[in-house]
Amino acid sequence: MSQTELSVQEEEGLVRRAKEGDKHAFSRLYETHFDRIYRYVVFKTGDRIEAEDMTQQVFLKAYQSLSGFNLKGTPISSWFFRIAHNLIVDNLRKKTKQEENQVMSFDETVIAGGEDPQTAVELSLDVESLSAASRLLTDAQQEVISLRFAGDMPIAEVARIMGKSEGAVKALQHAAIAALRKTLQVEQ
């Protein structure tokens, strides 16, 4: 399951066939993008179990709405990520309880070990901690990290999805990594 398995032409062909009702074509798209979408959702939610359910929902929703997808040079992965993003936002809006607890526990975990740079170096960074750390970034920085690193998306595609120039996305990428470095206090 890797995006590199398909060329642009192959992917466009699969999308066309899928829109015409070829379920095998859509299955191929599913296989190609499944892991990327899962990683994106895990990073955004910080919850692997929740991410499993949402990842399934992304592809089911995409299939149900495929007739409305307009190629026009837009990679279908951008559409999958958009569906995933909106699902995550919808889900977060529904949550009303215990929201501050997990941020607090992250702060305690990371900051407690952060006084000593050597301790910080040895901190085993997992996706849940990283997800929590990323919440201290700006929205735009967080989205760049999510799409670029968790979603394995090239700069140009990130720029298109976020409606920004490539230069702006590169600047956000720089700022996000610097901010994460500061937050995680990684000294190597």
Binding site: F34, E100, F149, L180
Partner: protein
């Protein structure tokens, strides 16, 4: 080339196999500034590269294929196809309940997942739950519906229809969440005021069809409030700061695990166990044993779906038992 470009260039190069030192040697004037950022990025990249659990990946693929297969039977919109559409099934069910009374409802109640009236059956159940004011009565209804689901799973297993088993399993998983909400409401002593917890609407064809998907084409007009111009919902309120942390679900607080995907452990009866709980435990033991017997003799093509169904049934029993314990 400014520093943002240089950093991006190095990220791409490292991503494609170059070492950090090799990249630093390309841009010696930026090396001191680049190295810590690349080190951090490498850690970030490693952390985010999480693979789905193999069993999840396999089950997800199976369920997705089932959804694709089920969707093939929908191009013609005849009367029966119309009935299968989830948005009309509830209307039909309500109309049947009002106009035709119990006879047609009873017909629907006897339908199986591979039959046209099954969506009506599910819709009737949803309406029954909605119209039941007390949490206690809703718990009894869920117990009855669980028995039905197990009967349906059994029948579909006997007829070797794994896609239909998955359909019922999705309904069971939805029921777990609904019962957990019911339990939470009961524990909060607010059952008379709380809204009836609803199962996620599970149409006849797929395990999950929630809110509609936004239009996929890039809009050329100003985005609606809450979204950017590319259709991404705005993240500002929920995505930043302390208010957007993931929260524990209601059933995460249960003493019995009742999360879909995990296997629940049912409690054992003792002298203080209530009669209703003992009856539930006995029913659970008998029904789960029946399903496991089916699994033992099931063809390979059916085993994953049946195993999922057993897990979902166990979780639903666990949620119901938790509810009974909290009454």
């Amino acid at each position: 080339m400014d520093f943002d470009d240089v950093l991006n260039e190095c990220l791409e190069r490292v991503l494609h196999g170059e070492t950090i030192d090799q990249c630093l040697s390309r841009f010696p004037q930026y090396a001191d500034k680049l190295k810590p950022l690349l080190d951090t990025w490498l850690q970030v990249k490693k952390a985010v590269t999480v693979d789905p659990r193999p069993e999840f990946r396999a089950n997800a693929r199976l369920q997705f294929q089932a959804a694709l297969n089920a969707s093939e039977s929908k191009p013609k919109v005849g009367f029966l196809d119309w009935l299968k559409q989830p948005q009309w099934a509830a209307v039909t069910a309500f109309a049947l309940l009002i106009v035709l009374g119990t006879t047609t409802a009873a017909l629907a109640n006897g339908s199986m997942p591979d039959q046209a009236l099954y969506p009506v059956k599910l819709a009737v159940e949803t309406i029954q739950i909605s119209l039941t004011p007390s949490a206690e009565s809703r718990g009894e209804l869920y117990a009855r519906f669980l028995e039905r689901r197990i009967e349906e799973i059994t029948r579909m297993a006997e007829e070797n229809k794994p896609d239909k088993i998955l359909l019922v399993t999705a309904r069971l998983n939805s029921m777990v969440s609904a019962i957990a909400s019911l339990t939470t409401a009961t524990l909060e002593n607010d059952t008379s005021k709380s809204a009836a917890p609803q199962e996620t609407a599970i149409p006849a064809t797929t395990p999950s069809q929630a809110s509609p998907v936004p239009a996929p084409t890039a809009p050329t007009v100003a985005p609606p409030p809450g979204q950017n111009q590319n259709g991404f919902a705005a993240t500002s309120p929920p995505m930043v700061g302390a208010t957007d942390a993931p929260v524990a679900t209601a059933n995460a607080t249960l003493p019995f695990s009742a999360e879909p995907g995990n296997v629940a452990t049912l409690p054992e009866a003792n002298e203080t166990t209530s009669p209703s709980t003992v009856a539930m435990l006995n029913a659970a033991a008998a029904n789960l044993a029946r399903l496991r017997d089916l699994l033992a003799s099931a063809p390979e093509s059916e085993s994953p779906a049946l195993q999922n169904a057993i897990t979902a049934a166990e979780n639903t029993y666990a949620a119901l038992l938790k509810y009974l314990a909290g009454k």
